[in-house]
Symmetry: C2
Subunit: 1003 residues, 2 copies
């Protein structure tokens, strides 16, 4: 080579080297299991997992936590945590950190400059920074609906995937703080492709048993319907929650000794610290079956100053490893993924787990079953917001970019705030009051934006001419208490209903009005029977002076599958210009119930009998020829303030009645029954207490009995905390067995005073038998089933044969000592105590047919038609379509369109769900196929990629680690028949959800 | 250019660029005023000064603070602070930080790797990190001796200079926490070349006055003897101590709101925060006279997570500066140096300040004059340790490397621990008990090491043959309570005295023995008169069962200038083999004082009369023919527990008697006088209380009266805190005037109930007139002067004409609320209360001659001959020189060899001091010249470089900023006649200290 050549060569080399220095770190991609720090086969490998647990709101609001504001309540600032960790990861490629909550990380990421983003991306690619779990929040598992869990995980996972690509796909689920664990959650995580699932809070008796026979880590069978593909490896943490070993916390709030290794200074403590560490590690290793253990090095909002952590961990690990030959202990920086990978390689045979982890007790008398019900009004608000979110997402797809003409009309805010609401201190009702107010404010803001979108979108969709603007729409958020400015003083208005379900739906609409008679015209212009009746005393009590409507207008509306229908309401005075009096509202009779005999109310389908005191006596479903003798009343448990057995009080988390016998809120004489009977609806009004009403309601063509309860303000001047339940005592011979749903999907069989995995000690006969009720609870015998459907998350149980109880509201005067630091004493808008209104829909069926009914009703409750209004009525029929469906068929009765969401300009996210469990029904539990081709008339599907449940991996390429059990290797891959052009047939088996990103163009 | 040439050129360029990237940051040197961030002439420039204040021990020990251990007491970890700041300085070259305490920085630096050191050096060179003050600790100014201040500043400054070169020379003195400020400190700082001096704690009345007429910053005339070269620009901080403006603290312990500037999140607060900041800044600017103000952004142990600070400061400054046109306010990152530089450029005329800032009151009734005396035993221990340190440093020079044969024999440890002891919560007695124990332990360790060095060094110096080993030596640390294992059971031993003063010294030696008679042979073998007397009851009471000596042996020893002398002590039994009985100990008579008449004790020089109750009545100095009628007794103030006027209690910091009249501890009858009279020493023993004794002692040839007080355990079972004083009431007509020393050097004239700079409000008639007494206090009239010399720092006053009082011990039962969180209740080794022993040497002179006497005595007290022992006596005179001086002349009486210290293998640090003030004496206050050439017979001085006082800059090149005052420009440069070969004559003017680094070789 000539000198010139050499120079050229040298120069190129230097250029390359310089470039390498600049670009390689960012480009270097080695995430995944291959980026794990090496372990040693013949040692006890101690996986040091630096982590922070960042509550998406709790004692402070999510934004206060992010910024580190309001530190007088709690010192915590997530912005600093991520800043600091990023700085520290810079210092040593062996260091690791995991981050979990995307609600925070996204806020942080948005504030960073390109250089920082590039650097962080490099760390993600190298596995230094790993995202674990990766949902928007770390969701609760008891009070969350599966629909919202999937949405919030999808939101977080999408952010990660969009931001970091392949290395942004979390491998491990991480619910180290939620207060108990549901099987449906495990199933959903399995479907998201997770390789493992770690959590900390399991019943301490369970933990004791699992430690003693090394079942801390096992395979959870997530869903018997789905079988092995829903299996998920799980690990329960050692028992110090998710904190570091005692004495080894190096965070600002900890006073543990630093590792002092300068022999020139006083207090050199290396030997003593190493000994203490070895002792802990050795003890912990006895509870686990491989030569790997994991230490969670972090806790709530820790790592604000990550240097203190890493500096001391570096030293600790160095000195522990220096004694490796003596102790056989080897420490390494690791992550839950790397730990899982090493367990997997250990080639052990793992036990299996079938049931769930509810309820959770962390010590005797401390059953965390209070939060199933805490802040029941917020729980209702959240569920209703999810209903709107689904409507909103669908309409963004259906209306396209048109809906974004108004930047305030958008869905992202509600997606994010619903994600925040799923956090395990939000939907659970375990945040401080000011934080719950913040959650409520967020939902309100998100709802407002979605309502704008919904209004614009439906308007656009109904306009016959694409250049026509849609009508101005108005939304009423307080229809449940008969408040609606849009209708209560209007002589005429349009009622618009949008049905997000893929089947036609018929629903009763209740609209606050002031007139005594109205004409309702259906989409085709024909008159619709309706009735007008006085706003009930119960609702007036709640409404106080907000709103002026004297009456409620009821009519039965039909809304087409995935479509809208509009109804025109006109006051009698105006309507009589066009229609006959017969077409106006029907008469309603309101009469007191007789005090000396039973009262019967009935439709063609249902008959309900009340005794002479006004209490429920029996219910008959005439369609299915089932009668259940049933008494219903409200009762209260006196929330414990602590007693001689335990100081544990009932509070936001904990349910602890001071007696197992609840006190009847029936006054012993009469609940002052009143019958209100019209052509559409028949009601029986009960007043149990001045602060407790119930309306038992039958709808002309509906097969359920609606129990609308109006509870509050719960009195407290006697100094006693009160937990209000509704209890149905039936003649069904259900023995100790009852069934509750898991996150609104799978039904879990419950047995009183029994746990699957460990001997149950009956310290709390009530609280220890309470389970989360997301959507339904039932009891049955061979013949009859009694099912209660809820409109939100509650808690409930069956404490004796034939009995079902649901807690509907709680007001407590003591903090339960689990951290929130406030008694659950919601004072409400008026300061005298929060009032709550909700509905229980009760079904009585022959047991074999019951599932078909409750599955369908469950879908209709959580994705109800969204009702809104327009004052614009003239020329409506000329300008607008009055009814339109955006699906070409009614979906089969067992298929649910779980998700229809805009994914990108030409992509939609579709989830189809088989709503039935395999033993629900001989017919509907069968496999079913739906073709996506042409399913949506306005959307040409041009391609379909099936994805894992959270849509961050193509299903085909998603692989999961395989584990040995005594029944063989698991999990199997989810391998449904591929969905291919041209028909894009989607076959669904029982309980299956299939997730697609489909390309489309607009027809 | 050919292609080849181009390639070559390109290649070179790339290589250079690469090198630049790697090397430039470290090599780039731009520290000093030119590295300041720019200001704006037409704006109010707000200098944002990020800083941390790191106490070198207080609530935790210095090592606990360094490591962040013991955080349950106080969260503080200096290692993390420096780590964190270094990381944050990385992020923006405009950022600044100052660091102050070298005791911490040196610990940190030692732990760093080369890469970090290089990076930090880069920041120092760029002015991002600036060392301010830079002593080993931030020394107290009330209880510290100038000798130790100079040493501890030199230690810190040397570390900085050695580590960072020119950029490691601090420009600004920074005493933001010490509790009052001495004029001598200002003078020393001026002599160290500082351009400015900032502090926070001045009397709030003073601050109010200074704010109102903008005298917060001015020129302090540090020493009227030295004149303008001792002038020093100073600034008193605004008044929130050294903390940030209210609401703008971004540290872990603060709950102030972060700057929330993401409009997407809730709680955006930029406008509100900017407004609040502007309001503060505007208010502060009213108290200062230029368009610059300084905000101290930090506080105690802050910046552990510097990111939180800088991130929020960055934002705050950005948004404030964005409104610059509206507000006229411009913020910049700055340092005290840059602030000072801008003040200097502002070209204002500054006022001047003459007096000091003592005592300090931070609120009414809260006079910080208790700490002058708190932990008086520790204060004695520290002063004695300094004596040893000076001996030790000299001997390391004189003996050379020989002394380092034993690695445990070294001086650095004591240098460092003495540096720690100067900290303003150490020598002040204001640390927690466990921390004071740590300080004591450190001094003990340092002393042990120095004693080893001293023993080896003197041994080597006395060996006649250089191959001979020195004798084994033993040190006795408790001679003051007549404990000495080396002597108390020995029949013969050698007494070795080393005199660190450059003049011959005669001193009385007191040695615990068991025999009744001894022979003492002087260096020349001749018999030395001596006396043996029983260990006093007072000392026995303190000693308890530690030590077995029955008697004390007294003799008068002569030690040559900067040299040693050895005396041989032999028991009578052994000695009688060689000497006549007359050469043995003289008789001692011990008789009770008569109860019905005066008692007179006298020598040829002094006569002291006690009245029939045993109390002092008069003192006569027969040499100078002065008699003072004087009563002396002990009294106690009852330390306030707070009262209706103020909750302020007397405590470690605060002196607040609950009555201005102290209670007499004389029992009213008699102090049970006993006269113990021998040939050398005559004593009068007094017992005031079972726990309070005094021995009034005359030495045969000495011109002072020694009052040895033995105080404690102070009783406290009556629940009353007690502050014990000794009070001399003389017939001197001193009116309201008295004189106290400033750090053992300048004398300050004090006037009762008067302050120089502001109207004095007499809320605390006693505490508000207390001043620190480092070495002496005197009163006088035209004829007579009454001077008390202390052996440690105490507090004292003259509260009426002719009276002088000194507080000698305090025991308090309440915390004074200033942070230490403990009452000053020293329980001592035996748990019943700490006992303290000390000496007051009282001089009575004609006023004009008084200074000569107290100047000389002051030197001899603080640099007393160091006494130690050897059991090896046989053949002593053959093997060892018995007396040797290492200076070729007795220094002139006004010249003090302040420092003789090994600086490097061939360099020594020499400080010569003119001990007299200009008006002290017509003769001795004159200029005096000493030649260094040949001054030390064993050290050939081969070159001399004069330096500033802390030896970190050559005097000639050291320049200081010039300031305008109404008297002209100041400071002048210290420009003494240069010291040049061959004679190296050093001319000294009154109070001048000159500092030299001299090269030498050993003669």
């Amino acid at each position: 080579m000539s000198w010139t050549g050499k120079m050229e060569h040298c120069c190129r080399f230097i250029i390359l080297a310089c470039l390498a220095v600049v670009y390689l770190p960012a480009a270097y991609c080695d995430c995944g299991y291959q980026s794990c720090n090496p372990t040693k086969p013949d040692r006890l490998n101690v996986h040091i997992v630096p982590h922070t647990h960042d509550d998406v709101g709790w004692l402070k609001t999510v934004d206060q936590y992010f910024y580190g504001a309001n530190n007088s309540i709690q010192h915590a600032g997530v912005q600093y945590i991520i800043d600091s960790v990023v700085s520290e990861l810079d210092k040593d490629p062996k260091r690791r950190f995991i981050y979990v909550e995307m609600a925070f990380f996204e806020r942080w990421w948005r504030e960073q400059n390109d250089a920082t983003k590039e650097k962080v991306t490099g760390y993600v690619n190298e596995g230094r920074l790993e995202f674990i779990n990766g949902g928007w929040s770390m969701n609760d598992e008891a009070c969350t609906h599966y629909s919202s869990i999937i949405d919030q995980m999808t939101l977080g996972h999408r952010f990660l995937k969009d931001t970091f690509g392949k290395c942004g796909i979390p491998k491990i689920a991480w619910h180290i703080d939620p207060f108990g664990h549901s099987r449906e959650q495990a199933s959903l995580f399995a479907q998201m492709g997770f390789d493992g699932f770690y959590f900390a809070r399991i019943d301490e008796d369970d933990r004791r048993a699992r430690k003693s026979d090394k079942r801390m880590e096992a395979i959870w069978r997530g869903d018997p319907n789905l079988g092995r593909p829903a299996d998920l490896f799980f690990g329960a943490l050692f028992g110090n929650l998710y904190t570091p070993p005692t004495g080894f916390c190096f965070d600002r709030g900890c006073d543990d000794p630093p590792i002092q290794d300068d022999k020139n200074l006083f207090d050199y403590n290396v030997d003593e610290r190493v000994d203490a560490f070895v002792k802990w590690v050795t003890l912990q290793s006895l509870a686990f079956q491989t030569n790997h253990i994991m230490l969670t090095m972090g806790s709530d909002f820790q790592y604000e100053n990550a240097n203190a952590w890493y500096k001391n961990l570096d030293k600790l690990m160095k000195y522990v490893n220096a004694k490796e030959r003596d102790t056989n202990i080897y420490t390494l920086y690791s992550t839950p993924s790397c730990y899982t990978y090493n367990l997997n390689k250990a080639n052990k045979t793992w036990t299996t787990k079938e049931q769930d982890f509810f309820p959770y007790a962390d010590s005797p008398h401390s059953d965390w079953s209070g939060y199933f019900v805490s802040r029941v009004a917020f729980k209702g608000n959240e569920r209703r917001s999810n209903n709107l979110l689904q409507v909103c997402k669908q309409l963004e797809v259906l209306a396209g970019s048109q809906s974004s003409k108004d930047p305030e009309a958008e869905v992202e805010t509600l997606k994010e705030y619903m994600g925040v609401s799923q956090h395990h201190d939000s939907i659970t009702g375990t945040a401080k009051q000011h934080v719950n107010d913040d959650y409520t404010k967020r939902l309100h803001i998100g709802n407002e934006k979605c309502q704008k979108l919904v209004g614009l979108a439906v308007g656009q969709l109904m306009a016959k001419n694409s250049s026509t603007e849609g009508p101005k729409t108005q939304f009423c958020n307080y229809l449940n208490i008969s408040m609606c400015p849009a209708t209560e003083n209007a002589d005429s208005f349009a009622v618009i209903l949008y049905n997000p379900i893929g089947r036609n739906v018929s629903t009763y609409v209740k609209i606050p009005v002031n007139g005594a008679s109205y004409h309702v015209a259906g989409p085709d212009g024909s008159s619709v029977t309706n009735q007008v009746q006085a706003v009930s005393d119960a609702v007036q009590r709640v409404r106080r002076d907000r709103g002026s409507a004297k009456n409620d207008l009821f009519f039965f509306a039909h809304v087409p599958a995935l479509g809208f229908a509009t109804y025109q309401v006109t006051s009698a005075k105006q309507a009589l210009k066009r229609v006959r009096p017969q077409a106006l509202s029907n008469n309603v009779k309101a009469v007191p119930a007789p005090a000396d005999s039973d009262t019967v109310i009935s439709t063609d389908v249902i008959k309900v009998t009340f005794d002479s005191t006004g209490l429920l006596k029996s219910m008959t479903n005439m369609d299915s020829n089932v009668t259940v003798n049933v008494k219903q009343s409200f009762y209260w448990y006196n929330g414990s303030a602590g007693n001689h057995e335990s100081g544990q009080a009932s509070g936001a988390y904990i349910f602890r009645p001071n007696s197992s016998t609840p006190m009847d809120l029936f006054n012993g004489k009469s609940v002052s029954g009143k019958v209100v009977k019209g052509s559409e609806v028949i009601e029986f009004h009960q007043t149990f207490q001045p602060w407790l009403n119930q309306i038992v309601r039958l709808y002309k063509a509906k097969n359920f009995v609606e129990f609308e309860w109006v509870v509050g303000p719960i009195p407290f001047m006697d100094g006693l905390g009160k937990e209000i339940i509704t209890k149905f005592d039936t003649d069904i011979d259900s023995e100790d067995i009852f069934y509750t749903d898991s996150n609104g999907r799978q039904m879990m069989k419950r047995q009183k005073n029994h746990r699957e995995d460990y001997p149950y000690v009956d310290l709390e006969p009530v609280a220890g038998n309470y389970y989360p009720i997301n959507s339904r609870i039932f009891i049955n015998d061979k013949n009859k089933q009694f099912t209660i459907m809820t409109d939100r998350s509650e808690g409930g149980s069956s404490l004796k044969s034939g009995s079902v109880e649901l807690m509907v509201h709680r007001r407590l005067l003591h903090d339960d000592g689990k951290g929130v630091g406030e008694p659950l004493n919601e004072t409400g808008q008026f300061g005298d105590g929060l009032m709550a209104i909700g509905k229980h829909r009760v079904l009585i069926n022959q047991t074999p047919q019951a599932a078909t009914i409750h599955r369908e009703l469950g879908e209709e409750i959580y994705m109800a038609p969204w009702v809104f209004f327009s004052s614009q009525t003239s020329g409506w029929n000329k300008t607008y379509d009055t009814m339109k469906s955006f699906i070409n068929m009614n979906l089969p009765r067992n298929v649910h369109l779980l998700t229809l969401e805009l994914w990108a300009e030409t992509e939609i996210l579709i989830r189809l769900e088989h709503m039935f469990e395999k033993d629900d029904d001989p017919e509907y539990s069968k496999n079913v196929t739906v073709s996506l081709k042409g399913l949506f008339p306005t959307l040409n599907i041009t391609g379909v990629d099936e994805h894992t449940l959270s849509a961050n991996q193509e299903l085909e390429s998603a692989t999961r680690l395989q584990w040995h059990t005594k029944d063989g290797v698991t999990p199997e891959k989810f391998s449904p028949p591929p969905v291919v052009a041209p028909s894009y047939d989607v076959m669904l088996s029982a309980m299956q959800i299939r997730t697609f990103i489909a390309t489309f163009n607009r027809a």
